[in-house]
């Protein structure tokens, strides 16, 4: 196999020579292009990288360096590049590299918060993060200045900047079940929410900032009233059972509702107008209560069914409520009367308050004076049954006719208003007295006597049947016979009738003779003595005969 040892080796060819035109090998293009690509990527990355900002959060839950995104309007605008603990360990600092297009988000009043799945009664939010993991939400501000260090919000802001609408401030005594994000309803339409709340500086109330989204914000007028729409309002009225609530969510989570008075044409309220939150719709619509007047009532009867908070009505108008109920001991009478404290808001009576006499004294004295007059005219307190079904009582202040006179001490404090037993109790008493009267009637002896009388009556009737009736029948038969006889007598062909006719004819003739006689005598009165002349008419003798006849008939 050694080529040197081969015999007669074939002549190798002499190939032609061509020279390459390139001095530098073109293969160097490859790394050059690679370098260019790399360089362009670096430049692109450098150009597209936005500002670096840091956000401090209380906890880094859900934050993952290199993974957690920063989203604005659901567009990824940056990534968390690192999450570190702050120097003092009180919070975590997330470093975020924003995209260049999102550099405008880093304004002085921009807000950042971690979007995590949140489940509360108002709903479920951030469901998309349940699987995808948390992300950081941004709400850009409107400030001109830029900033790179932010403090993250612990809860998502209720109002995203740039949302059309207005904010208002509502004052309330107690936050109750309201919370950030609690809904605000207008005619049962959700139009806004509670953006924030804070305790007033003096600690005597809570100021809620609510946000009403456009276009509903124009329904908030200067005379709009707000009320707490939390919970359920169950009422049993004359028109039936009513259940009122704004929505299922408000039952648990609370909410606010507002309305303007009917026919209100006030201008829409400017932003940040202050309002007062009423307890419920009724009290919201009611005129302001004004100062309350505390009055004590003493009831002798049991007040089962009366509860603290029960209404106090005057002429059917709710003017107050029961604030306390206690038992008292009356040593002299060995009784336990109930002492009920009520609060009355005279201003609830409405415009009529203006008509009431004004006594220029302090308001307490004025009320006392006025009340004492009313008591003289029969004003009494009664515990009345408001509902027969449940036995709920309410206090009614009313003028009781023929009320027994009582003394009213206008100077006593608290004022004690005389009471009478309530309407239903009165009815009960009356019914009881009627029943006791009925009870007193000797029903047994009455029954016994009645029985005796009836048995006697029975005997009497038997007697009548057995004896009186047959005799009556006989008498009637005889009477009929008598009538028949009488009828026979009066018949046309009866002898009596005929005799009567003849008699009457005779009488007629007699009367004629008497007439002639009287005629004769009137013309010739001497005929009575001389007798009748020849030319004398027949009247004279007739008269005589007539006279004679009349004398005869008289005899």
């Amino acid at each position: 196999m050694n080529p040197v040892s081969d015999k007669n080796p074939p002549e190798p060819h002499n190939p032609a020579v061509t020279r390459s035109r390139w001095r530098v090998s073109p293969v160097w293009l490859v790394p050059t292009v690679a370098a260019l690509i790399g360089l362009s990527m670096v430049i692109h990355a450098w150009l597209s990288s936005g500002p670096e900002i840091t956000i401090s959060f209380k906890t880094a839950a859900g934050l993952d360096a290199g993974k957690t995104r920063v989203k604005y309007k659901d567009v990824t605008v940056g990534t968390v590049s690192s999450v570190t603990l702050a120097d003092d360990g009180s919070h975590v600092v997330a470093k975020i590299s924003l995209a260049r297009s999102a550099r405008s988000l880093a304004r002085a009043d921009s807000r950042f918060w971690v979007v995590r799945p949140r489940i509360d009664i108002g709903g479920i939010s951030g469901v998309d993060t349940l699987l995808s993991g948390a992300y950081i939400g941004v709400d850009t501000g409107s400030a001109k200045t830029e900033r790179t260090a932010f403090t993250g919000l612990e809860t998502p802001p209720a109002v995203i900047n740039g949302t059309a609408g207005k904010s208002f401030v509502v004052h309330t005594i107690d936050l109750e079940s309201l919370d950030i994000d609690s809904p605000v309803y207008y005619r049962h339409i959700k139009v806004g929410r509670v953006a924030s709340y804070k305790l007033d500086d003096d600690g005597r109330g809570v100021s809620l900032q609510i946000f009403i989204a456009a276009p509903y914000d124009r329904f908030v007028t200067t005379d709009t009233y707000f009320w707490n729409a939390s919970g359920v309002d169950i009422s049993l009225g004359a028109d039936g059972f009513k259940l009122k609530t704004q929505s299922m969510a408000t039952i648990v989570a609370g909410g606010i509702a507002f309305a303007a008075p009917e026919r209100s044409n006030n201008a829409p309220a400017p932003a940040d107008t202050q309002f007062v939150l009423a307890k419920d719709e009724q009290s919201a619509m009611a005129p302001p209560d004004g100062p309350a007047q505390y009055i004590q009532l003493r009831f002798e009867q049991s007040l089962r069914g009366l509860s603290v908070g029960a209404p106090v009505e005057f002429s059917g108008i709710n003017i107050g409520r029961v604030v306390s109920m206690n038992l008292d001991y009356d040593a002299s009478r060995q009784r336990f009367p109930s002492v009920v404290g009520i609060e009355i808001y005279p201003y609830r009576l409405g415009p009529v308050v203006a008509k009431l006499p004004k006594i220029e004294a302090n308001i307490d004295q004025q009320d006392a004076q006025f009340l004492s007059q009313m008591v003289v005219h029969g004003l009494r307190a009664q515990a009345r049954s408001g509902n027969l079904l449940t036995g709920q009582l309410y206090i009614s202040l009313d003028f009781v006719p023929h009320a027994p006179k009582v003394t009213f001490n206008a100077n006593a404090r608290p004022l004690t208003l005389p009471t009478v037993s309530g309407g239903f109790d009165q009815l009960q008493e009356q019914v009881a007295s009627i029943v006791s009267k009925i009870d007193k009637i000797p029903l047994e002896s009455i029954g016994h006597h009645l029985d005796t009388s009836l048995s006697e009556l029975d005997g009497t009737l038997k007697q009548i049947n057995g004896q009186v009736l047959p005799e009556t029948t006989l008498t009637l038969r005889q009477a009929r016979q008598t009538f028949g006889a009488a009828q026979d007598m009066l018949a046309e062909d009866s002898p009596l009738q005929q005799n009567l006719g003849q008699t009457l004819q005779e009488l007629q003739r007699t009367a004629r003779s008497v007439h002639m006689l009287t005629d004769l005598l009137s013309r010739h009165p001497d005929a009575l003595l001389r007798g009748r002349t020849a030319d004398q008419p027949l009247a004279a003798p007739e008269l005589r005969s007539n006279t004679a006849t009349s004398q005869e008939s008289k005899q």
Partner: protein
């Protein structure tokens, strides 16, 4: 010289393709076609060292974005994340899958880096006509060539996985630009290894 002669010493040149032996006319990089088959005849691969260097440098340049940029986007139940090679290794290591982390590390980091080192070493020593450990260097070269085929493992994994895992909404895997650079790295290192002529190692022996 007790050693057997080499073609160069005999003034001969053999065609790579058809094995025709010709007279070697001039030493250098001239383009000489084989009289029989037309394949370029050269004693050694022309510009072998230069080309190998060029491809090696290109591969090195591409290795930077390949390891910095994400190679794969994994979306599991909406939880999407880009992962770079190192990130993936750390993740698997943290999760306790040391074996997988090790495999990925070997395939994606150790092997390319080793290739860079080995090729760089070979090229440097050959360029300097070093006579140090020539046999071992030849073996090293064979190893690099052998490993070259398997360096595409990462690219294949990403390609297959991103083609298989397409469950709309549930899970989704997509390749990212980093894997392209990684593929380029592999190609360039293979090209570099191909262009390196191992016979050059032994050329140092002659002088």
């Amino acid at each position: 010289m007790s050693r057997p002669p080499r073609t160069q010493q005999l003034g001969l040149i053999a065609c790579h393709a058809c094995g025709l032996v010709c007279h070697h006319i001039v030493g250098g990089n001239e383009h000489v076609p084989c009289p029989r088959c037309g394949t370029a005849l050269h004693r050694r691969r022309p510009d072998s060292i230069t080309r190998a260097w060029a491809f090696l440098i290109a591969g090195l340049i591409f290795y930077i974005p390949a390891s910095m940029l994400p190679v794969m986007y994994t979306d599991l139940l909406g939880n999407g994340s880009d992962s770079t090679i190192m990130h993936g290794i750390v993740e698997f290591w943290k999760a306790g899958s040391w074996a997988i982390a090790f495999v990925i590390f070997i395939a994606s980091v150790a092997v390319p880096c080793a290739k860079f080192l080995v090729l760089g070493l070979l090229l440097a020593t050959t360029q300097r006509r070093s006579r140090w450990a020539m046999r071992e260097r030849a073996r090293l070269y064979r190893l690099v060539e052998l490993v070259g085929y398997w360096s595409m493992l990462d690219v294949l994994v990403v390609a297959i996985v991103s083609a298989l895992v397409k469950f709309q909404g549930l899970s989704d895997i997509e390749p990212r630009i980093g894997i392209l650079f990684f593929g380029m790295v592999v190609i360039f290192t293979m090209l570099s290894a191909m262009n390196f002529d191992p016979r050059l190692i032994w050329d140092a022996d002659e002088t």
